[in-house]
Symmetry: C2
Subunit: 389 residues, 2 copies
Amino acid sequence: MTLPGQLNPPSRLLLGPGPSDAHPRVLRAMATPLLSHLDPAFLEIMAETQEMLRHAFQTKNALTFPVSGTGMSGMEACVVNLIEPGDKMVVCVNGFFGQRMVDVAGRAGAAVTVLEQTWGDVFDLGRLRETLQKVRPKVLGIVHAETSTGAWQPLEGLGALCHELDTLLIVDTVTSLGCVPVAVDAWELDAVFSCSQKGMSCPPGLSPVTFSTRAVEAIKRRKTKVQSWYLDTTMIQHYWDQVHSYHHTAPISMIYALREGLRILLEEGLEARWGRHVRNQQALKAGLTALGLQYTAVEGRQLPQLHAVRIPAGVDDAAVRKALLTEFGIEIGGGLGEFKGKAWRIGLMGHNSRPGNVLLLLAALEQCLGAHGAKGSAVAAANGVYKAS
Amino acid sequence: MTLPGQLNPPSRLLLGPGPSDAHPRVLRAMATPLLSHLDPAFLEIMAETQEMLRHAFQTKNALTFPVSGTGMSGMEACVVNLIEPGDKMVVCVNGFFGQRMVDVAGRAGAAVTVLEQTWGDVFDLGRLRETLQKVRPKVLGIVHAETSTGAWQPLEGLGALCHELDTLLIVDTVTSLGCVPVAVDAWELDAVFSCSQKGMSCPPGLSPVTFSTRAVEAIKRRKTKVQSWYLDTTMIQHYWDQVHSYHHTAPISMIYALREGLRILLEEGLEARWGRHVRNQQALKAGLTALGLQYTAVEGRQLPQLHAVRIPAGVDDAAVRKALLTEFGIEIGGGLGEFKGKAWRIGLMGHNSRPGNVLLLLAALEQCLGAHGAKGSAVAAANGVYKAS
């Protein structure tokens, strides 16, 4: 066969729903020579990574580690460890990723009740209480940051409600960790999964998870084995804890990367990072609004790190995204599910949430929208926000 | 919390059972800025990687791709896609990794029949035929290169036998791909999994798999969904094939790495690579034999890439391995399962199968064995092989 040429990808600025660009320090960490997964020096790196991950998740949970797969493997890990065949589970669906959790839960043998909400809107505590009282499920699953709609689900009080009714709470923080607060202990979340390639500014390949004591106790009471050997926390925990017994070969380089991504996060500080995401959100929103674009998520529930906006009538979705990519090297995302062909998704996640990226995106988008857009006002609107803040 | 220092792992030469050192060109590829998983430029990189992977597996199978997890996720992918609850499966166990397949199969709901063989020995076709005729299973699972014993299972004729009896053949090539021949089409293997961190000289994080047309047809005839959403090939294939529909975010950097590892493999050529592994095997074996060490695998069935030897009576396993690691920066592996504390496992895999590594390991091991070893003869014995070949 013909040998393909040297790896030489085009330069991109990844402002879609993820992956987001990895931080340059993280990319350097990726090139570090390997240690073995049981080397004493690597065990130390693991412990440091876990401790920083607990800080990012705002938890003291012992069972906190990155699953050796991408974000969806973390969703599956949370579900298959908590669910045994026949267990009742309520899944909240207000977007594409809630729907996915329904599929994952069904494959784990859960008796699933779907609680639906309009895409772009969020669930309120009253309705959740009503459903939990009626169904009395073992597990409730909900998405913190719906990547398909840009909606930001409030979680305050939900953990306490679940525990009052003997329910365990699984939360999808794939698009929230490292961008907005994820207070695992304060909010009493039981099983939480995220990813490496968004707010953490690492390449895709890991799914950080954390399990509460309540979740660990529930796993101990299982009558059946976890259906996935690869994702079985009862074995994986003994690799990550003091026992360090071999389960599978950890993805060494990805853990180097996550460690560096977490160091960068801690150097900045959680509060400062959240504030930066909000500041750039305000500027981008001012610009997108000046371009006449409307958000798919309801006002007051819009994620700072993911702006999903409706594609204006008469605008060619594919042509605009292609022009952004080929002319300016900028990627934004198209719509998913119900919003396929109807929305764009613009991400400002982790390292990529920067004023320069906001101005560049707005300037380029204004060019690509041409006659459909406003007249030079987007960049000015964003700059107005930066000058005032 | 206290911020851990900059990533600064000690220098190691990884001559254990894996991970093996990544090739320097692969490490550089890991540091390449990201593309998104649906970028046209990345889709091209995927297609090139698939085509080279087919070459490495010696197959034309359309469904050939790297699973987004480490080697064990590939084992699970093969099993859960082929097995439905209640299906009969025979698993051949002559070491630690065969035992694992029994566990994985049981979790998938298979009615498992275990066929055992002494650790270090291999299975013969006659016995396999007898078992298949008696059990008539849907699937037979076997390990090509048993990493726990160093035994090399012959596979010629086994696929034809399975197909004569309507059985699908799953093969674990985790420790064989890129080191010794893996002739997927010629040997009629149906579902084959490997890893990135051994013969491919990449970091751990991917599990290359390939499924025959026969396996794909069997998956199409399933009455139930694959129990794992993350590993469901009926969906993953549409991301890798021309449809390119989103399933999960691929681990971009690891695919960059695998592409580079495959380019290096193709530049060298399969035959040359296999020959290199045999040449270095002969030299290492001469040296280890001069040190009085005995192989755990039977004569004639010893893997070129993994030398498992019994620890001599009176030698302190942990002390020798610790001295190798701390004095000389060399990692070798301890025993697993039945061989825990009784064997060492020395790997010469992919890029690490080099004369310099053989001499260094022998010289260092001779030092560490001290009074228990021979007297300066190991390096000379290995050099004798190099001079003659």
